[in-house]
């Protein structure tokens, strides 16, 4: 049997690794990958709590389904913006896309 703590600690670790990726990486696509890791950590957390507290409820899985959808939508739009910015500025480094003009 696996105690709930294992899942929660694993999800917290994944979230913090994603947080480090978002804060420390220069490439905009790498930042998006960090965001994906954070969203996955949230999903693990939601499902762990659902399974261990009250598997009869549907709030957990419903929320996870919405998070899936939101993550997919956000990645699509984010990557479209990054590709569009790359076409104009020839860079994907987040630090260098720093003025609103052009």
């Amino acid at each position: 049997m696996i105690p709930l703590s294992w899942y929660l600690v694993a999800a917290a670790a994944l979230f913090c690794i994603g947080l480090f990726g978002v804060l420390a990486r220069r490439n905009a696509i790498a930042i998006l990958m960090g965001v994906e890791l954070m969203l996955n950590a949230v999903n693990i957390n939601l499902l762990a709590f659902w399974r261990y507290q009250d598997p009869q409820q549907t709030a957990g899985p419903a929320f996870v389904a919405i998070v899936f959808v939101t993550a997919a939508a956000e990645v699509a739009v984010g990557l479209a913006i990054i590709i569009s910015a790359y076409r104009r500025r020839s860079t994907v480094v987040a630090e260098e896309i720093d003025n609103l003009k052009g």
Binding site: L4, L14, C16, I29, Q56, P61, A62, A72, V77, S90
Partner: protein, 171 residues
């Protein structure tokens, strides 16, 4: 202490997930980072399967690995001037980000471990098929989650149109 096969599987899944996630945020070559992301997402799917949310395990592979990861790989390939990487991959103050992430992790673990349900064991599921049926009914029932369901489909439509418009190249 006896380690059951399920615990062994959990440890394997957690090592795959967390190890690949560490490689994602520290890989030099951005395409390798994308492939490590695929491995990490697969580890998360294994964790979902261990939680007996088998529908979500499969949907994770279809949506995240089959669509999102491929989209990320496409974007990586379309935004490279040359096929090699050069220059630093992390900002100069990366150690500050690492300290912050470690602090957040420590704070989360301390806060969660003070909760009385931290060491719970899972209740047994009477019918393994029931959660999926209940989820399906809940997502279309007016008393439950039909409004978020419909709103999320409108969100997807907006994202679809937005992504096409933003990335469109007029010849």
């Amino acid at each position: 202490m006896q380690i059951t096969p399920i615990q062994l599987t959990f440890m394997l899944a957690a090592v795959i997930t967390l190890g690949s996630a560490l490689m994602v945020v520290s890989a030099r070559n951005i395409l390798h980072a994308a492939l490590w992301l695929v491995a990490s997402l697969f580890g998360v799917a294994m964790l979902f399967a261990l939680l007996q949310a088998n529908f979500f395990a499969v949907v994770q592979v279809v949506v995240y690995i089959g669509a999102i990861a491929i989209l990320v790989i496409f974007a990586v390939m379309l935004t490279r001037r040359v096929m090699q990487d050069s220059g630093p991959q992390v900002i100069r103050a990366w150690w500050l980000a690492a300290v912050l992430a470690a602090a957040v992790f420590a704070g989360l673990v301390v806060m969660l471990s003070s909760w009385r349900g931290f060491w719970n064991l899972p209740p047994t599921l009477a019918n393994p098929d029931a959660p999926l049926v209940q989820l399906g009914l809940a997502l279309v029932s007016p008393n439950a989650y039909v409004v978020p369901f419909e709103v999320s489909s409108v969100l997807l439509l907006a994202a679809l149109i937005g992504a096409i418009y933003v990335a469109f190249q007029r010849k």
